[in-house]
Amino acid sequence: MNRRGEDDEKLLANTTGIILAVIILLLLIVGLYEGIKTATSDNEFENAHEVFTALDTTLNALNDKVSINYTLQGYASRSDWYLTAWNQGVPGRPDQCFLENCICICRGGTDKSACEKGECKTYDIDAISVTTPYWGYETTERECDLDPYGNCIDIGFGKQEKRYNHILIPQSFDLIQIEKDLESDPSSLKITLFTDKYLNKQIEE
């Protein structure tokens, strides 16, 4: 009888201990989970979404004919984020674009899979371009001037204006130009980033 009483006492003490341990463990797990969730929450996607929403709001508020300079406010991020446009008929389009022309904000690249890690918005317009002009060397063809006899005088590889079909979301600010002139060019919605390097080079040229 006494022995059974002692066993009961031990059992009771153990049960209380186990309950307390479970409560403490649960609290620790909840705390740890919330801490990790807060620390690793995908701010980058939220930030990209906000940048994209701000641009979209501006695009939708534009008149039919306008050319404006727009301050693109970026953010510090580990991944590179890009703005890019997909027009109808271009192969490998993100599914979010359906059959429309669209602008996407893409994570880590500008291909379909990268854009599907971001988000896309469609626009009821004939064509959209998102570009970053730069000065680069043409490496595929050598340039030449023609002599009076029509012969080519090789002047080497020319340095000329080239374009990336995307805009890299900056880690601080950038100036982009939005051009929309539906009156004279119904297919026109151009978003262009002019980097300082490009603008300086343009002045030099």
Partner: protein, 346 residues
Amino acid sequence: MRQNRYKPLPLHNKMYKKGELTSSQIITIVLLLFGFGILLIFLLVILDIDSYNADEICKLSVIARATAPDIAQRAIPLKCTTQKICITGGDDCQEYKGLKNVADPVEVKGMTEQDIRTEIEKTIADEMYDCWSAMGEGKLDLFGGSTSSPLAGIPVIEAFGKKQTVCTVCARIKVNNISESTLQSIDVNDYLATTPFPDNSGETYIQKLTDNSVRSYPREFRENFSLADKGTDEIAILFLQINTGDNPMKAFGETGLKSASFIFGTGASVFPGSLLLSGKVAIVGGVVGGSAAFLQTYRSQNLAAAYCGEVQSVDEARHGCSLVTTFDYHNARALKEYCSVIEGQP
């Protein structure tokens, strides 16, 4: 044996009767459960950041980051979302539609010119103070962290390591449908110097921003007020911080510190270097390079509250300079020049 079964049990044996809890055990368990309940509620409230407003979340993240060890500092996101404030005499600001952290528009329709002016000046002054206050008045190391930590590859650490300026855009303020004459009469500098801060302390905004170390602008600074600048309809309230390494004076001498030079360049011309370098809070004048006044167009260059000295870091003593100021939000090139990297959410 049989008799023993009916023998009265001693009191202590009664207490160990099968299934029965002692009163002390019951009290202990009740107290523990009660305590854990309180702790659980406290934790749930603390961790339920969704119920906090943007300012509170920002302050919490600033404190969390500033008090974290170097190795973990970068893992704590700075959850400061740019607040968008529209001051309008008509329609709402279209540019802010659908964005996060948009404040209720400040309606000034029907107000007198003087009242509109005061409303705009107050909004800007309040936002400058709120930004300065939320960011720890420049005394907290927010953008540091160990360059040897596993997180060192991210841009903000690299920028900070290179002594570039890291910024947070605390707020954007846009004016809409307000007359040019009203905008031209706005003078935030004067408002900061003469208007009592709304906490019944009797101190002006300047005194609040400077820990009471500055009461009025020096004459040289007042003379600079008359410098004209290009106007804009939208400004950004920016918090900037730069890690100057050991001594801000040394950084002042380094010509390579382009992005930081404005802090010292104008500050030194307004105040004796000793004041600026003693680590006290100072008010400095307009930004070098003629960038960005803002609504106070044609009136003055913009004002900034700055702090240079030791910034609080858990692992090591660091020196840096912090500054809160206004910028023309449409002047992207100037913004880019002064902010190498932006922390926080757009």
